[in-house]
Every structure is written in C-alpha cells, then in structure tokens.
C-alpha cells in the first residue's frame, strides 16, 4: 500500500471522488489556481475545470448557503472553509439550515454536503488560525462531525462523508497534514461514519483523543509503558454520531479514563464524553473522569512561549496518565 500524508490522502480521495461521481464539486476560497492554501486541491482546476472547482468570493456564509442550494438540487458539494476559525460567519447556514433541512421538511428534502475545515494549532497561527470548533458543532442534531487523525481514516471517512446523505463537517487537523503519514490503499474506500477505533489496547486506563492529540497520546502511552502502565487509546474518529458503545466498553474494561483535546475544556467535546461515562459507566469507574484540554482562554497565542503553553503535548499527557494511574 502506498504511504501518504494526511494531506495527500485527502487530495487523492477528493480527486477520485470527482472522477467517480460528476455530482461532486469543490468550492471555496483559493481552491482553484492556487489549489487551496494548503494545496489540498492542487491540480484540480486544470483537470476538472472551473465549473466544478469554484473559486468563491470571500464569503463563508455565501459558500455554505450556495452549497446547500446545490445539495438540494442534486449536486454533492464539498465546500472548503479556508481555516476552521472562519466558519463562524456560516454558523447560521450550517446550524439553522443544513442541519435542519431533513427534519424540518419531515424527510422530504435532504442536504448531502461536506464542509471541510482545517482546524487546530501548533503552527504559529495565533488566535485566528488555530481554533478547534468541534465543541460548537457536535451539539447540533442533524449534522455529522468527523475528525480523522490518520491518512487512512481521512481517506475512508472523506469518501464516506461525500456519499453520506446528511451534511457532514469534516475536520482536518492542520498539524497532521504533512506530519502524519501512513498506509492508504489506492482508490476509493470507506471508513464508516459513527465508528471509533481502539488504536492501542491496554488494561490500566483509557485515553480518548483525536486529531494531533491522538498522536501525542500514543507517544505518551509508549513512554509510560516502560514503567508498566498499560494504556488503552481510543480514537472516536467521528464525534457526532459518537461511538458510545466503543467508549463505554473500553472504560468498563479499564475503569479509568482521561480525555484529551486541544480545545478549551469548558463545554469542549470532552465534556460530553465525560458526561456519558459518568452516567453509563458509573459503576465501573475506579477514579474520577479526567480531562486534559487547552486552557480557558479565548484562543491560542502567537508567540512561541505562549503557544507552547497552550497546547497539551506528550509531556503533559504523560503526566496526566501517571496521575490517573496512581489514583
């Protein structure tokens, strides 16, 4: 199997999807001649033409609103939001419109579309090029939220998302784009939406993480393994609908759990996972449900010392694992 980066996996899947189904198109700011600011759509304009590779005006509300119309009328738009930080102007079109079209029409209409949004920090992006936005969107019934962490999952989940009949917010962690590489089969294949994965088996405690934090967690797990602490690592992959069974069965096995994400903790996605466990796995718990998250500040600072301070990393994850293991 070829080895690809997350970026290449997404590029190739989008390409293949557009080859396979002429209803698929990409749209967004700079997706054309430039091939996207991260080069996810490099080469698309030349190959697919400007009717299916649309350089839109600088207008996120419009991008999503127009994409909804396309989806209502038989296309399968993949709209790129240049940075997840800039998805907020489209909040109304996503939350009040895309997510409710099936429900409000009693199933008469549907809105199959994908919104791709690069998220996450550690790239000197400061307050407005580093945000995690899953905390907002996972609250919304009618919307699916996918957050792959590996090239394989990115490819499989993207194809699943494009084929899905509901609107999907597809979150791509920017820091993983070039850093994380792995085997990815050629051609189109799916990873099912709504299914998580035990990425590492363990006995003593469960850590739940996604995005760049998954990789930091795996590193921390390696380290503590040297001291005999056996960590099970769960990657939810899809955040909504969440694979609750997988999480609960892991926690019931290990009896302790740490949730890691880089978004701030208060009402961050870890809150829901913790609440789920505190309700459904209460009797199995041998310790408090722990969260390790970004701090309660509005966003990630730009300067190096404070950016570093903001982000959970293998060291802080390791420390949190050791604390919990010792409980």
């Amino acid at each position: 199997m070829p080895v690809k980066s997350v970026l290449e996996a997404i590029h190739d899947t989008l390409w293949n999807a557009m080859e396979a189904d002429e209803r698929v198109l990409v749209m967004g700011e700079d997706v054309g001649a430039k091939g996207g600011v991260f080069r996810v759509t490099a080469g698309f304009l030349e190959h697919f033409g400007e009717e299916r590779v649309i350089d839109t005006p600088l207008a996120e509300l419009g991008i999503v609103g127009v994409a909804i119309g396309m989806a209502l009328n038989g296309l399968l738009p993949v709209a790129e939001i240049q940075f997840a930080d800039f998805i907020h102007p489209a909040f109304d079109q996503i939350v009040n419109e895309a997510a409710r079209i099936r429900y409000r029409s009693n199933g008469n209409w549907e809105c199959p579309m994908v919104i791709r949004a690069p998220y996450g920090g550690g790239i000197h992006g400061a307050l407005y090029h580093s945000q995690s936005v899953e905390g907002f969107f996972t609250h919304v019934p009618g919307l699916k939220v996918v957050a792959p962490s590996t090239p394989y999952d990115a490819a499989g989940l993207l194809w699943a998302s494009i084929q899905d009949r509901d609107p999907v917010l597809f979150l791509e962690h920017k820091k993983t784009y070039r850093l994380i590489k792995g085997d990815v089969p050629d051609g189109l294949f799916t990873v099912p939406i709504g299914k998580g994965q035990v990425v590492r088996e363990g006995e003593d405690l469960t850590v739940i993480a996604y995005g760049m934090m998954l990789h930091h967690t795996l590193e921390a797990a390696e380290r503590v393994a040297l001291d005999g602490i056996s960590v099970e690592v769960v990657d939810p992959r899809t955040l909504r609908p969440l694979d609750e069974d997988l999480i609960l069965s892991s926690v019931k096995k290990t009896s302790k759990v740490l949730i890691v994400h880089e978004d701030n903790g208060f009402m961050g996605f870890g809150a829901e996972i913790a609440a789920l466990i505190a309700d459904q796995a209460f009797e199995w718990l041998d310790g408090p449900v722990k969260r390790l998250c970004g701090p309660e500040v509005p966003a990630m600072p730009y300067n190096d010392p404070q950016e570093h301070w903001f982000l959970p990393n293998p060291d802080t994850i390791e420390a949190a694992i050791r604390d919990l293991a010792a409980y």
Binding site: P57, G69, S105
Partner: protein, 344 residues
C-alpha cells in the same frame, strides 16, 4: 441602471394591455381567480388562528398581485421556488393543491411541507420543487443561487424563484447570495416584496435609499422596480427576467412595491406603529384585487355575475380544503424522532 415599470400608473386599473403581453382573456380571468383564491384562503387561515385552531397566522393580503404576476412567468414542475412566508397566492398559483396547503395550518401529520413540525407558512412542496423554508430571514437567498448553479452546471434551463421582504435585503445573506449569482450568471430571479415594513420598522430605517433594486447595479445584474399591485406589470417584468435567465443571461433583482394590509402576523399589533388612516388608505388605494377587478370590467372580460360565481367557486375550494384538512390526523409524538439523519 435600475428600470422602473408602471410606478406612476395614474389609472385605478392596470398599466398594460394583457394582449400585448401575450396573455389571453382566459389567462387574465384565471389570474384574478388565483388572486381571489389567495385572498380567501388567507382570510380563512386568519380565522382559524382566531378560533384557536392554529397558533399562528401570517398574511399575504395586499401582495397577491405581485405573487400571481410572478407565478405565471414560471413553468411549474420545471422551475424551482424558494418562496417566503407571504407567498401563499404564489403557491396556489403554481398548483399546490389547496387541501395540501391547508394541512400546514392545522399542523397535520400529512402536511407536505413539514408534517406539522413547522409553523404555518413555512412552505415546502417537493412535487413542484418548492424548497423547504425556514424562519431565519433571507437564508434562502444564497441557497437559491446554489440551486440555480446546479441547473446551469447540468445544462438545464430551469429558472429559480426566490423571494424576501425589503427588511430581508438588509442581511448579509442577500449580499453574498446576489453577488455569487451575478458572478456565475446563474438562472435565478431575486424577488424583493417591498411592503414598506419589517414588522414595525419602516423601510426608511432599514435603508437610506428608495429602492432595494438599486442595489442590483452593485452586483452587476439588472434591477427592476415594478408596481407590485399591478398583476400585469409584474407579469411583464417577471416574464422578461425569467426569459433572460432561461437564455443563460443571468439573474435579475426585481422589486415589487407592495403593501401589507394586515399586521405583521397574528402576534403583532400594528396599531403600535402605524395609523388606522394608513390602513384605510392602503385598502382604498392599493388593494390589488380592486385594481384587477376594475381592469376586468373595463376590458369587458367579466361582469358582476362572473365575479359572484367565482367568489362562490373559490369559497367552495377553501371550505373543502378546511374541512378536509381539519379531519386529518395530528402527528404522533413518537414520530418526532424521525428524519434527524437519513439512517436513523
């Protein structure tokens, strides 16, 4: 750049001769009939709300000429519609069955718009490409641009109708939607129903200009202001715009100067912000039915007997729709879990 049509009509009748617009005598009689149907249906819904049979009413009274003039310029079944809450007469005119429309007011399970999930006047009728509507004002505008983009991409010559109030033209959705449509020259008609108020806020607090249509130039599309109380003038303007769109020449912004004869909705008391004299004046001078009736009489297309007969026929339709719809079952609580996702 803005075009002005029939705005200074001194006549109490209509500004154009229907024959010159390619309409038959029957067409005009049919237009009147549809306007009347819109009016009587609307009045019935008002009563249902007062009777406590519906929790909400929002009225299209005063705007029927604009809706009928618009509706007849489109091809039902082929074209797409993303109408706003006052467009009842338009829906009836393109052929949504009165019985099915009435289900919405009773929030019945078989309501084709939402199965009773949404408030009345949140349209949706899949068989005729009437897109599901929401409450947030103007969100439909960029969506309509996207719908039209899909038609264009597939090489189909369908045209999309989308409407909104002049208040709705203040929103970013208006700006971003019109801009996209103009850039891509997609086949969509943006119809601004300017009735002078957004609930209580008069148009001069909504904008420092006279005409919403004047904004069209800022996007690079034609803008037309038309007397929305004149069904033939509206038809003429819409037909031209629709034909242009169908020929692939892009979108048009049409502003219908119209009036709102009732309060904003059943939740509103418009005595707080406009005088009773204003309403009386609007009723006397601006009622589109009065003007259409005058035209029919003047042109010898109808006589009193005809009007009486039509009135009776319409009331039968309205009564039938009401009785039938009321007898339909309410949604079941447990069905409220359905249609969140396609697969659950």
């Amino acid at each position: 750049m803005t075009e002005y049509v029939a705005l200074d009509a001194q006549t109490k009748s209509l500004a154009f001769d229907h024959r010159e617009l390619g309409l038959s005598d029957d067409d005009v009689r049919r237009m009147y009939e549809l306007m009347l149907l819109g009016r009587r249906f609307d009045e019935r819904c008002e009563i249902l709300q007062r009777q406590g049979k519906a929790h909400f009413h929002i009225s299209g009274q005063g705007q029927e000429a604009a809706q009928i003039g618009a509706a007849l310029a489109f091809i039902p079944g082929k074209d797409w519609f993303h109408p706003y809450y006052r467009d009842l007469a338009l829906l009836l005119a393109i052929g949504v069955p009165p019985r099915e429309l009435m289900l919405g007011w009773f929030a019945r399970a078989n309501d084709p718009a939402s199965g009773g999930r949404q408030m009345p006047a949140h349209w949706g009728y899949r068989p005729l490409n009437v897109v599901t509507a929401s409450s947030p004002v103007s969100t439909q505008i960029p969506q309509a641009a996207g719908i039209a983009y899909a038609h264009k991409l597939r090489g189909e010559d369908a045209v999309t109708y989308v409407s909104f109030g002049e208040g709705g033209a203040s929103k970013g959705d208006f700006h971003e939607g019109l801009n996209f449509a103009a850039i891509h020259k997609v086949p969509v008609i943006f119809v601004c129903m300017n009735n002078g108020y957004a609930i209580s806020v008069s148009a001069n607090k909504q904008m420092a200009i006279e005409n919403v249509a004047d904004r069209a130039a800022g996007y690079g599309m034609p803008g037309v202001v038309v007397d929305g109380q004149d069904m033939l003038a509206v038809y003429k303007v819409m037909k031209e715009a629709v034909d242009r769109a169908r020929r692939g020449e892009g979108p048009t912004l049409v502003e219908c100067k119209t009036v709102r004869l009732k309060a904003h909705s059943s939740d509103d008391d418009d005595r707080l912000y406009r005088s009773r004299e204003e309403i009386q004046r609007l009723r006397a001078e601006k009622d589109p039915l009065v003007r259409a009736r005058a035209y029919l009489l003047e042109q010898g297309l109808a006589d009193d007997a005809w009007f009486e007969e039509i009135e009776k026929k319409i009331m039968e339709i309205v009564n039938d729709a009401t009785d039938w719809a009321e007898a339909q079952p309410l949604p079941r609580p447990e069905d409220a879990m359905k249609h969140v996702y396609w697969d659950r």
